[in-house]
Amino acid sequence: MILLHGTTRQRAERILALGPDPRFCEPGEQATENGFSTYLDHGPFLFGDPDEYAHGKAREFPDEGGPVILVLQVPDAIVQKAITEWFPLSQGLVQFDLGSGLEELLAVWSQIASSALIRSLT
C-alpha cells in the first residue's frame, strides 16, 4: 500500500535514515509520544491534505529544506496492524502508534526505506 507523509526535507531524510521516531520533538520542545501519521495516497483526505502539512511544517521551520512528501510502500499486513476502531482505513488516515503497527513498521523499516521516495513540493 502506498502511504504519504507530509513534512520537511530534513525530517524526511532523518525518517528514512532512522525510521519514524514517535518521540520526535521539534526545536525547543520536550519529547512526547506522537506516533507516525500517514495518508493513503488515493485519499480520502478527511484530516487535511499531506501537501498542506508539508507546507505548514516548512513555514514553521524554514531552515529545514522546504516541503516534501515522503512516499512509502508499506506491506498491507503492517498497514492492517494500524487499523483500529478509531482509525478505520476508509477514513484515509493510517496512524502508526506503539501497540498499533509502529513496532512492526520499524522492524521492516530498512526494506521500506530502500523503496521510499522524497517528492519535493514547490
Binding site: 512526547t32 506522537n34 487535511g48 478509531w86 488516515l93
Partner: protein, 221 residues
C-alpha cells in the same frame, strides 16, 4: 453538580469508539455545541475536559489516546477549511462551523442548523480545543425558552439565538442573546449570561439533561 455529571456522561459517550472512527467523534463533538460549551486540553498524557465557565477543578479526564485527539483536531481544521477555505492551518486556528441538526431530528419542524465557534492548537507539544455555540436561526417569531440555573424559565420571542462574546473580558464566558427583526435590521431583545444558563430551547422545552427525553432536537444551546 447533577448537571456537571450529566455533562461528563455526555462527553464520555462521544469519546467512545464507534465504527465511524475519528470522523464520527468530531461530528458528535460538534453536535454537543447545541447543548454545551467546552474546553479540552491534552497534557502529560491526560485528556481533560471542562465546561467553559466552570472552575478548573471541575474538569474530568477522558481516556482517549493522544493520536486520536490529535486526529480529531486535524479533522476540525479540515472542516473549517472545507467551509471557509484557507481559514486555519492544520496546527492552529479559529472559526465557525455550521452544524446540521442530528439526523433523528431532521424531520422535526423548526430545527435549524446552528453554527459553533471553535479554536484549536495542534502541535506536537500543545493540543487544545475549545468549542462554543455561536448562532441558530429559528424563523420569525419563534419562541425561545431559557432555562436558568436557579430553575427559573424565561420565554422570549425572536428569530435567532446568538452567542455574544465579552470582548472586554476574555475570562468571562459571554452571554446568549435573542434577536428579533425590526424593519431592515435586527435588535437584541434579551441577553442572558452563559454562566447562568442551563439551556435555551426553540419550540417546546424538554429537559436537556434527561437522556432519552430531550436532546438537540428541540434544544438550541
Amino acid at each position: 453538580m447533577i448537571h456537571s455529571n450529566i455533562f461528563a456522561d455526555r462527553v464520555q459517550v462521544v469519546f467512545r469508539p464507534t465504527e465511524r472512527g475519528v470522523v464520527g467523534l468530531v461530528d458528535d463533538l460538534l453536535g454537543l455545541c447545541r447543548l454545551y460549551q467546552l474546553r479540552i486540553n491534552f497534557r502529560d498524557d491526560r485528556c481533560c475536559v471542562r465546561h467553559l465557565g466552570a472552575d478548573a477543578q471541575e474538569s474530568f479526564e477522558i481516556p482517549v489516546p493522544k493520536s486520536v485527539f490529535r486526529a480529531a483536531l486535524a479533522r476540525t481544521a479540515a472542516i473549517c477549511n472545507e467551509q471557509h477555505p484557507e481559514s486555519v492551518t492544520p496546527y492552529r486556528g479559529e472559526g465557525t462551523i455550521a452544524v446540521l441538526p442530528p439526523v433523528s431530528s431532521c424531520s422535526e419542524k423548526g430545527v435549524a442548523p446552528s453554527t459553533c465557534y471553535v479554536s484549536f492548537i495542534n502541535t506536537p507539544r500543545d493540543q487544545h480545543f475549545e468549542m462554543r455555540f455561536s448562532t441558530i436561526s429559528a424563523g420569525d417569531r419563534n419562541r425561545f425558552t431559557v432555562l436558568l440555573r436557579d430553575k427559573r424559565t424565561v420565554t422570549v420571542f425572536g428569530h435567532a439565538l446568538k452567542y455574544v462574546e465579552n470582548a472586554a473580558n476574555t475570562t468571562d464566558c459571554g452571554s446568549y442573546g435573542i434577536l428579533s427583526r425590526t424593519g431592515g435590521g435586527e435588535v437584541l431583545v434579551a441577553l442572558f449570561r452563559a454562566s447562568e444558563v442551563i439551556g435555551v430551547f426553540s419550540g417546546d422545552m424538554t429537559d436537556p439533561d434527561a437522556p432519552g427525553l430531550a436532546g438537540p432536537s428541540t434544544s438550541a444551546v
